[in-house]
């Protein structure tokens, strides 16, 4: 891939433009650089900025989690939502809301749930992509059923809290914005430190092991990283699917495959995608809002089917 750093800066510019658009768009259009009234300034500061920052951080987390899961299972079709990792995160969060209630419980529950979901999918990694994806589908159905079961056992006020959380409301996120942004930055730093090992793992387990990569340790690190990022994203925004599939795929085409480029590009691309999806979600039927997960699924499902229909998943 020629001039990857130039391409990366183009993705960064697109992300910045998306943030500006996300700030401007909504029930009421406003100028993010120069609010014309006090009312606009208040909307911008207390509503739009936190929401756009949340969307950007969650998008970046999900896109990176997708890239890590893909390297972990050696298959570019892997993604937190497809493999059921996001679903198990929801189950964890709902249970935590039921047992303890509150933001910290939901986030911790989502993280633990995502970890359990990642570990549950690992035995199927060795059985090849077909069985891995089937296992993901079935496990996702199981997590969905368990989530329904957990919801049916909740009391009224917890139920409302859990349903609101499941729909994914980036405006009233359960997780503070600073934690999302800090988590995203830390995850990116860890991911970049592992970039070369990730590249080698993408060649295959034997190739990685015979190149001096401690494959077992690396896998453990990836399981933890992917669970933590998915858990954080799910805790903040509910189940938002397919960002982890579309974004790394597009970035491999645009920027290239080495993870030192792919991870920052995916973080920027994921941020841009979710900010735009969220801006769309609150604009198309304003003053009502669509859940942002609906927007990403409407984009993601066709992409996924299109990828499945090709033998080499993302051949250009």
């Amino acid at each position: 891939m020629r001039r990857p750093w130039l391409r990366l800066s183009i993705v960064a510019s697109i992300a910045a433009a998306s943030v500006m658009l996300g700030l401007a768009m909504g029930e009421r259009w406003l100028n993010p650089f120069e609010p014309v009234s006090d009312m606009d300034a208040v909307i911008l500061e207390s509503l739009r900025w936190p929401r756009v920052a949340n969307a950007a951080a969650v998008g970046a987390l999900l896109a990176m989690a997708g890239a890590w899961l893909q390297a972990l299972v050696g298959n570019p079709l892997a993604e937190p939502y497809v493999l059921g990792v996001a679903g198990s995160g929801s189950v964890g969060a709902i249970l935590a809301i039921g047992v303890a209630g509150g933001e910290i419980a939901a986030s911790t529950g989502a993280f633990v749930g995502a970890f359990v979901g990642t570990v549950a999918i690992l035995p199927f990694v060795r059985l090849g992509p077909t069985r891995l994806l089937l296992a993901g589908v079935v496990l996702a159905a199981l997590w969905g059923a368990l989530a329904a079961l957990a919801l049916s056992l909740l009391g009224d006020s917890e139920l409302r809290q859990a349903v609101q959380w499941m729909l994914g409301d980036l405006g009233a996120s359960q997780v503070p914005t600073w934690l999302l942004v800090a988590g995203g930055a830390a995850a990116l730093a860890f991911g970049l430190a592992l970039a070369r090992s990730l590249d080698r793992l993408a060649l295959g387990e034997t190739h990685a092991a015979t190149s001096g990569t401690p494959v077992g340790l690396l896998r453990l690190a990836l399981v933890l990283l992917a669970s933590a990022t998915t858990g954080l994203a799910v805790a903040a925004a509910g189940t938002v699917g397919f960002v982890g599939l579309i974004v790394p795929h597009a970035m491999r085409l645009l920027i290239g495959s080495p993870h030192r480029l792919l991870l920052p590009a995916s973080a920027l691309g994921g941020a841009a995608l979710l900010v735009l999806a969220d801006a769309g979600a609150r604009s198309v039927v304003a003053p009502a809002e669509l859940p942002v997960g609906v927007m990403t699924a409407l984009l993601g499902v066709p992409t996924f089917l299109w990828l499945l229909a090709r033998r080499t998943p993302w051949r250009s």
Partner: protein
């Protein structure tokens, strides 16, 4: 002595492939590993590389058991070439070669030696199997490890590249590198090997000087096929008899 195995037994699933294997590989030696499909050749190489654990016995590398070296230290001492890597993630040839650890040589030279210079910026999945095999041989050639393990290096290659690469292996051995090479072509094995290890069915194995073992009578039963020697003006070839006996 670079690499020694003691009472090594290999298992794949429930099946015992090799039992009580003891070999010693010296610096600068070329060993060839021969045998029918499923006799344990690839399993042996991965066990020697420390990737698979033996069912019994041990592999000693530089006077230390293979699993006592860290994965990084093993990577400095042993290089492996085998099944083609996944092309799914879309690495280019150049990016693939950047992932080679302990590079002793210049990637541009590796590309030139294996006639890959014009393919450097192509993605792996755009290449033919033979071209991808050459990329893997280039990746191996970059590595500074004193022991190279090669699992069918000439697979997929056209005739000229087979000849060129075997010549390159001889050059490496002369420079003091130890090579263990799984081959299916007996003539190629005969052309490069100092020592041979023959793996057969039912944990049969035999090792010794290649000149003694690579003979029709020694190999006929192992491969279950008749063999004959074709004497050319410069060298002789060990060939299977393709026609049934009259």
């Amino acid at each position: 002595m670079a690499l020694v195995t003691r009472e090594l037994s290999l298992q794949r699933g429930d099946r015992l492939l090799v039992e009580g294997l003891g070999i010693g590989v010296e610096a600068g030696e070329i060993w060839t590993v021969l045998g029918p499909n499923g006799s344990g050749k690839s399993t042996l190489l991965l066990t020697l590389a420390g990737v698979l654990r033996p069912a019994a016995g041990e592999v000693i590398l530089d006077e230390r058991r293979i699993d006592r070296w860290s994965s990084g230290q093993r990577g400095e001492r042993i290089a492996w070439q085998g099944a083609l890597p996944s092309a799914e993630f879309g690495f280019t040839v150049r990016e693939r070669l950047e992932l080679v650890p302990q590079q002793a040589r210049n990637p541009a030279d590796a590309l030139r030696r294996l006639d890959l210079a014009t393919l450097a910026d192509r993605r792996l999945f755009e290449l033919s199997a033979g071209e991808r095999q050459r990329v893997e041989l280039a990746a191996l050639w970059l590595r500074d490890a004193p022991l190279w393990l090669l699992d069918e290096p000439t697979a997929h290659l056209d005739l000229r590249h087979q000849v060129v690469f075997l010549d390159l292996l001889r050059e490496e051995a002369r420079a003091g590198r130890s090579l263990i090479v799984v081959l299916h072509d007996l003539t190629q094995a005969h052309a490069i090997a100092d020592q041979a290890l023959i793996l057969g069915d039912d944990v049969f194995h035999r090792s010794g000087p290649a000149a003694e073992l690579l003979r029709p009578n020694e190999l006929r039963d192992v491969f279950g096929t008749r063999l004959h020697v074709a004497q050319g003006p410069e060298e002789s070839a060990l060939l299977p008899a393709y026609h049934p006996p009259r």
